[in-house]
């Protein structure tokens, strides 16, 4: 009776299905090792969150799954063609006594995500809503400006 070994090189070529009958007998161990490697190699810094991007005729819409956030802790910044969504640590309420270690004014976000936005975004008309734990940022497009024709003056 031959013991069928599961070659590791094949694994990367044929990723194991998440569900269904073709699950490898080692998938549990592999998943755990992948998780350990991912945890060990993960870059230090704020967490991330899933983002969906949609487009319609007049705007681009970014939807970020951020359940359980307070609106005042969500920060949306648009600079140099990059949209940055951040979740800041909750600021102490006004009535609270000052904590022993004062929170610096520029504290690190808990989670952050940056996306490139289309070049023709009307940056002054960006709007955002937060419903059911989903932050939706609407980035309207600037209407295309007709090319300006420059007359050549007679010298």
């Amino acid at each position: 009776m031959h013991q069928l070994r599961y070659p590791t090189s094949l694994r990367s070529v044929f990723p194991v299905a998440r569900s269904g009958a073709r699950l490898s007998p080692w998938s549990g161990l592999e998943a755990e090792m992948d998780r350990l490697f991912a945890a060990a190699l993960a870059a230090e810094g704020p967490a991330t969150f899933p983002v969906d991007v949609y487009a319609d005729a007049s705007a681009t819409h970014v939807r970020a799954a951020l359940p359980g956030c307070r609106r005042e802790d969500l920060r949306i910044e648009l600079a140099d063609g990059q949209l940055t969504l951040s979740v800041m640590p909750p600021a102490p309420a006004a009535g609270d006594p000052a904590p022993a270690t004062a929170t610096p004014a520029h504290s690190e976000p808990i989670a952050r995500r940056s996306l490139a936005v289309p070049e023709d975004t009307a940056e002054d008309q960006v709007a955002a809503t937060y419903v059911d734990g989903v932050l939706t940022v609407t980035l309207p497009r600037r209407p295309a400006t007709p090319p300006r024709r420059i007359e050549i003056r007679a010298a």
């Binding site: 490898s24 487009a55 359940p67 059911d132 989903v134």
Partner: protein, 124 residues
């Protein structure tokens, strides 16, 4: 043969899973268990919390569908509903479970039955 076949046939990556398990956290106090389930995009209408045969089941369907004219450019979430099943055993008083959904986070309070609560016996 089946295993060899499974190794040589690239599995079909499921493009749309039937359901996804939500991120959740279970904690415990002396009187109750607390279950926090992250259900972004789920509203009260699409949420079902049931207890049947000591199994707590949470099903959350996403409340949002893209309006007409919106086309997806990039997707990292799925439209599949969230499902979570938790075996409660005999420790939870199912008739006193309380649930609250706010901003896509479901908080369940699962009070313990009297029999499993810690009891201090006063020494006379």
């Amino acid at each position: 043969m089946t295993l060899l076949h499974s190794l040589l046939t690239p599995p079909v990556r499921p493009s749309a899973p039937a359901a996804v398990r939500p991120v959740h956290e279970l904690n415990e106090t002396a009187d109750a268990f607390g279950l926090t389930v992250q259900l972004p995009c789920v509203a009260r209408d699409g949420l079902d919390v049931t207890v049947e045969e000591d199994v707590l089941r949470v099903v959350g369907r996403r409340a949002w569908t893209p309006p007409a004219g919106w086309s997806p450019l990039h997707r990292e979430t799925t439209d599949a509903p969230f499902t979570l099943a938790v075996a409660l055993g005999q420790a939870v008083a199912a008739d006193r479970i309380a649930a609250e959904l706010r901003d896509g986070v479901l908080r369940l309070s699962l009070p313990k039955v009297e029999a499993v609560r810690p009891r201090r016996i006063t020494v006379a």
